[in-house]
Amino acid sequence: MGNWVVNHWFPALVIAAWLGINVFLFVYYFLMFDMDEKFYYTREILGSALAWARASAKCLNFNSMLILLPVCRNLLSFLRGTCSLCRRTMRKQLDHNLTFHKLLAYMLAIMTAVHTIAHLFNLERYNDSQQAADGSLSSVLSDLHQDGSDKWLNPIHSNSTTPAYVTFTSIPGLTGVIITVALILMITSSMEFIRRSYFEVFWYTHHLFIIYFAGLVIHGIAGLVRGQTEESLKKYSPQHCAQYLVYRDGRSTHHHCKEPEFGGIPAESWKWVLAPILLYVFERVLRFWRSRQRVVITKVVMHPSKVLELQMHKKGFNMEVGQYIFINCPSISVLEWHPFTLTSAPEDNFFSVHIRAAGDWTENIIDAFQQQKPKIPRIEVDGPFGTASEDVFQYEVAMLIGAGIGVTPFASVLKSIWYKFQQADQSLKTKKIYFYWLCRDTGAFAWFNDLLASLEQEMEESGKADFLNYRLFLTGWNNSIAGHAVLNFDTVTDVVTGLKQKTSFGRPMWNNEFSAVATAHPKSVVGVFLCGPEALAKSLQKCCHQYSMLDPRKVKFYFNKENF
């Protein structure tokens, strides 16, 4: 529990603050509309549905204001860069921007539901009181000021209409329906299943947010939510005058109460969302401008199993370990941007990505580079984004565990560590690395294989062969692979990978690994870094606790969660 608090206090704080503000806004405005004298007559007709609608509207405004901010990735990068003095745990939360965006979307959905249901009741009640002729206060109020002045209370002025008709012939009604449908479409097309399998559907449907924000700003213009005007309230307070409205006979002349006058609440959504909209527009313009910067492709390598490596160069591009970029290829699709982890080290004089065929866009780009007709397609790059993983260099001993596709950021890390080691960089505290690579089959990662092989060779040449100790675990083995490996047990290089280090089959036994590392480095601080599934994270965390000694002079394992 204590561990959880230490790792998660900042996001918990942010979420608590956000929820707190929502609750405060809801309760404050609910009470205001439910108890303020100004809305006494409005409540006569609508009951508490007025307060529900208005309170949820405030929350909708607040969340609509916030929802554009987490997707301004350039703004977030800027914040990350300027807040370098802040603790790294706080800056790392900027990586969870999409989670926050989804949380805001869920809140928007809930508040929209509340708001819509409350207004359904409001319209029904307005209609009923307009059509009622029983002399009740609500029907009297509905008949007031129906002469063309702007002082009416009930927005429905006809006796023979339906709420549906009123909805579609009034600005708030029509915009409300349109933006609700837009919101429903946006949310339903963002389900994970659709994002993974039909990304284009998600991407294009999500641009309905433009309609959502336009509708939101226009939604309150008509001022259909009415309260008594200040003047009228001062002179003819409802406490005194309400009763006289109902008795429309001669007795009502001896008091000073006249008919109350009403005015609409001005539209205020624009005040909430104007700044974020401008920031987002600026963000898109910035993305566009950055994408126009020329990207020079210095090398194209086709690896086995349809993996394309692109080495590129762009003016002013500075990357750090563990970051990612967005790539766009106008000749394939003008509007699609896809993220890829950088596989080169900052010390390289180029930056590279490895693109594997896993869908239409990636297959098209691989084909385009293979054929190169008429020439190499143009590439646009935006980035780099993401929190850098500098922690890797701070530990004397580092255990890096990459599972399956999670091995890609380690390409960057390993290369960078090697460069720093070669140059005897003072910021590098690492003296020994244990690298564990778990995957089902090495087919698509043959390029990583080559990287390890070249690192192996370079280390031998420099006489530092024991700097990097790596183990490969093939979890998708079968009879024939195992039999083959067993028969070739005595050969110098491994049959599967060609590396000096032998491949193991099945999953690693972490207890053995951790105890071996603890025995080899009894006095060090070991950093454990994982890029892989949650279940593996749990078992590694357990091992870290188990094998860390309480004595601060002895070995300690620190598990770094979600570093990539």
């Binding site: 339903t188 039909y198 990612y324 993220p339 890609t408 067993v486 053995n512 990539f564």
Partner: protein, 214 residues
């Protein structure tokens, strides 16, 4: 010659194969959504992908919710709302079983197989997407008469258009059937040494154990 024993650190637990197209195969789930050298999000519809998941269960749920509000509030014309609840529930049940993709395998929704059996019974009526499109459109119309359920009408209308487009592309609903998984009994066979093949040199007699020093 007997093969040397495998190193002790190998964990010989056989691992069931994960389904192809399993959406759990990319990590981290909670971390930043970016590709590790490949695209996490597959951009366009893969050939053989079906339209059924594009009509999420949320769309008929809007109809049901609107109906409930109108019935509870006893709005004028609440009978349309009662109808909407029934129609919405029917469509939810129809939509629940996910259709099988033409290529690759599809994840089943929880508890789907019971409804799959029911939906299969109706044969062409539920399989064909043209009929589904017409059904959605037809069921949507009465709900359009009441404000509370008009959103539901819009949503069902959109679902109807999606089915129409899918039908034009020639898709239809196929039930997901479980294939019996063959568990390879790897660990039993690996204990047996390979049988000598025909014509192979017979294994040499094992070397005598070294004499113990007295």
């Amino acid at each position: 010659m007997r093969p040397a024993p495998l190193p002790a650190s190998v964990g010989l637990r056989p691992r069931p194969r994960q389904e192809e197209g399993c959406v759990r195969c990319t990590w981290p789930r909670r971390g930043p959504r970016r590709a590790r050298g490949r695209v996490l999000r597959r951009p366009q519809a893969r050939p053989g992908a079906s339209a059924s998941p594009l009509t999420p269960r949320a769309l008929p749920a809007v109809l049901v919710a609107g109906g409930i509000v109108a019935v509870v509030g006893q709005f004028k014309g609440w009978q349309f709302a009662a109808y909407s609840i029934a129609a919405g529930v029917l469509i939810c049940l129809l939509e629940y079983p996910r259709g099988r993709r033409k290529k690759g395998s599809t994840m089943e929704r929880w508890g789907q197989k019971y409804l799959t059996a029911v939906v299969k019974v109706f044969g062409l009526l539920t399989r064909n997407y043209y009929i589904r499109a017409i059904l959605h459109a037809a069921l949507a119309v009465p709900a359009g008469f009441l404000l509370a359920t008009i959103l539901g009408t819009a949503c069902l209308g959109i679902a109807s258009v999606i089915y129409l487009l899918a039908a034009v592309r020639g898709e239809e609903w196929q039930p997901i059937e479980q294939k019996p998984q063959e568990r390879s009994q790897v660990w039993t066979t690996i204990k047996q040494p390979p049988a000598a093949a025909e014509g192979a040199v017979p294994a040499p007699a094992p070397a005598p154990a070294p004499a113990l020093a007295e």
